[in-house]
């Protein structure tokens, strides 16, 4: 047995002055963003608190949006169930469409095209990323809408027996598919840019190893680059998902808001929390305004949750690799 075990020494890490100043600055910056985040959440909670008190959980689950008698708030029935489900459906459609597209584009840019084409493609993507969403919205309405309407009719004709592709009303138009597709196009540049970033970091020696084993270029990408970039891709996807969940104007122009939970993605009826807020904000009564603040808080929390989930997934998959 050891008898003379000494006390543990504390190890001082003496930072230089420059380091100290820098550390304080960085801490301040991080602290500041936390404060802003908390302030926004707190504000929304404060303004929307009455709604949560009056409706409780049914604000999230019920789909009816009726202010009733404007003079008497007790007659109002307000719930964002349909909007929340709609937000999630459009965001999922957007992600499902954009991820394969973004991965393909990122691989193409990083591994297949010569330098000058790469430069052109990257600037196009940057341009698309910088387009204001209202431009996307107008384009979606004017160009994409008729196209998607045609496709929807065809899809319904052949796949209508699958519940989500069924359209009993036979009204297509401004459907979750259209809004989701448009959102998908909007987030392709975000996901592509993140994917490109991580793919370009894939270790050269592993790609060489795969090639030296008689792998095709695609084989090497699949064996090395895709597994290496998986966690980064998840992160990029979550970034895109966040944008898709929060997008307002583009959805406002391309989705027909209906206060009824709808899983039929081809039908001209859907929901979206952000779009709801934009639609109702102008003419809202004082009480309805509170409900919109509450809806904003829900959206805020969902987005936080998505980001939190993304961080977890990224950390976890990083450990595996």
């Amino acid at each position: 047995m050891l008898t003379n075990v000494p006390d543990k020494r504390s190890i001082e890490n003496n930072l230089t002055r420059v380091d100290k100043v820098f550390q304080n600055l960085v801490t301040l910056g991080a602290f500041f963003s936390m404060v802003v985040l908390a302030a926004i959440g707190g504000f929304l909670l404060y303004r929307g608190f009455e709604i949560f008190k009056d409706f409780g959980f049914s604000f999230i689950t019920s789909s009816k949006w009726d202010i009733g008698d404007p003079e008497d708030t007790s007659t109002a029935i307000l719930g964002i169930g349909a909007m929340l489900v709609g937000s999630i459906i459009t965001a999922i459609i957007a992600v499902v469409i954009s991820v394969p597209f973004a991965v393909a584009t990122a691989l193409l840019i990083e591994f297949y095209v010569p330098g000058w084409i790469k430069t052109i493609l990257v600037s196009i993507l940057d341009l698309v990323a910088a387009l204001p969403s209202v431009v996307f919205g107008i384009w979606g309405y004017a160009v994409l809408l008729p196209l998607v309407e045609d496709w929807s009719v065809t899809i319904e004709h052949y796949l209508g027996w699958i519940p989500i592709f069924n359209v009993p009303s036979e009204i297509f138009g401004r459907s979750p598919l259209l809004a989701g597709l448009l959102l998908g196009l909007m987030i392709v540049p975000i996901i592509t840019s993140v994917a490109r970033e991580v793919y370009s970091q894939a270790p050269r020696d592993l790609i060489d190893a795969a090639s030296a084993l008689g792998g095709t270029r695609w084989g090497a990408l699949r064996a090395v680059v895709l597994p290496f970039g998986r966690s980064g891709l998840v992160g990029g996807t979550m970034l895109g998902l966040g944008r898709a969940l929060g997008e307002t104007v583009a959805v406002y122009l391309t989705l027909n808001l209906v206060f009824e939970i709808n899983f039929k993605i081809l039908a001209s009826a859907g929901g979206n929390v952000a779009s709801l807020i934009a639609t109702k904000f102008g003419e809202a009564t004082a009480y309805e305004l509170k409900a919109l603040m509450a809806a904003g808080l829900v959206l805020f929390l969902v987005t936080l949750l998505v980001n939190f989930g993304a961080t977890m997934i990224v950390n976890k998959s990083r450990k595996i690799v």
Partner: protein, 291 residues
């Protein structure tokens, strides 16, 4: 000067290396291009460029079938470049170019009709830095090449065992084939990479300083592996370790760059290179007087 010090401080490996029987039948003439036997691998007036940098000039060398050839020379003289030219890995470097011919079983591997993927499968390569695939476990790493080149195997487990045994790793990993390739030590990883190359049953194996990251024990094991493999495989090995070149190779080729592109100074039986080289620069190098 430096290398002289290294030479004396380097741990000596004194274990005996079994000398395969071919050594008795080696002939200097076999190294000549257009040697009577057209078997094995042959470089003819090969040049290499990286963009405008002329890295390698006019290398002609014949690697007789089922022999071990050591490539030696100071850092930067183009040994790795030459090696990568032999299995069409050179072209992966952007703006890299080459001239000349590399004949494999009598055919130019740079011929437009040749499928480079097929060449890389038949001419395997092991790199300086061990590079097992981190997303795969040990067993999967061994058969990764089969998966990559879509070769079907009837008996995967037997193949894994066979390759790991030949690479001298089987005993150490047989109970942990499911753990990650990256969880092995550096020396084990390198032998895993050799096993991975063996799984494709290549006719030629190119080794680029395979032992530079290994401890003396692992080095010895890899060297034994090389000697055993040379019974059925043509092996080209780049090494900075003169003792290693002397231990494993049948022939040695000395490369040198005098500021310009790397060139082949001489190639001969390993015994001649070390005891009686025809060029004084070779003698200086192998005796550690420069480089």
């Amino acid at each position: 000067m430096d290398s002289q010090i290294n030479e004396t401080t380097r741990p000596h490996i004194t274990a005996k290396v079994e000398i395969p029987e071919q050594r008795s039948k080696l002939h200097t003439e076999d190294l000549q291009v257009d040697a009577a036997s057209k078997s094995g691998l042959e470089a003819r007036s090969v040049h290499a460029w990286f963009d405008k940098h002329h890295a390698l000039a006019d290398i002609s060398l014949h690697f007789p079938k089922n022999t071990v050839t050591g490539l030696i020379g100071p850092s930067g003289c183009g040994k790795s470049t030459f090696l990568r030219l032999l299995n069409r890995m050179h072209e992966f470097i952007p703006r890299a170019a080459m001239a000349g011919e590399v004949l494999f079983a009598g055919n130019d591997i740079y011929d437009p009709g040749v499928n480079p993927i097929d060449i890389r499968r038949r001419i395997g390569m092991v790199f300086q830095k061990p590079n097992p695939f981190p997303a795969m476990n040990i067993g999967e790493n061994v058969v990764a090449g089969l998966k990559l080149s879509r070769v079907k195997t009837s008996n995967k487990d037997a193949l894994i065992e066979d390759c790991l045994t030949r690479a001298g790793l089987w005993k150490e990993v047989k109970d942990r084939l499911g753990s990650a390739g990256g969880s092995l030590s550096g020396g084990q990883q390198q032998r895993l990479c050799i096993a991975r190359a063996l799984a494709l049953n290549p006719e030629v194996l190119l080794l680029d300083e395979p032992c530079s990251a290994l401890d003396p024990g692992s080095t010895l094991r890899v060297e034994e592996t090389i000697v055993q493999l040379s019974a059925t495989m043509t092996i080209v090995i780049v090494t900075h370790n003169m003792q290693q070149a002397a231990r494993v190779s049948d022939y040695c080729a000395f490369f040198l760059s005098d500021g310009g592109p790397g060139q082949l100074v001489e190639a001969d039986l390993t015994t001649n290179i070390f005891s009686n080289p025809s060029d004084s620069r070779t003698a200086d190098y192998v005796q550690g007087r420069f480089g």
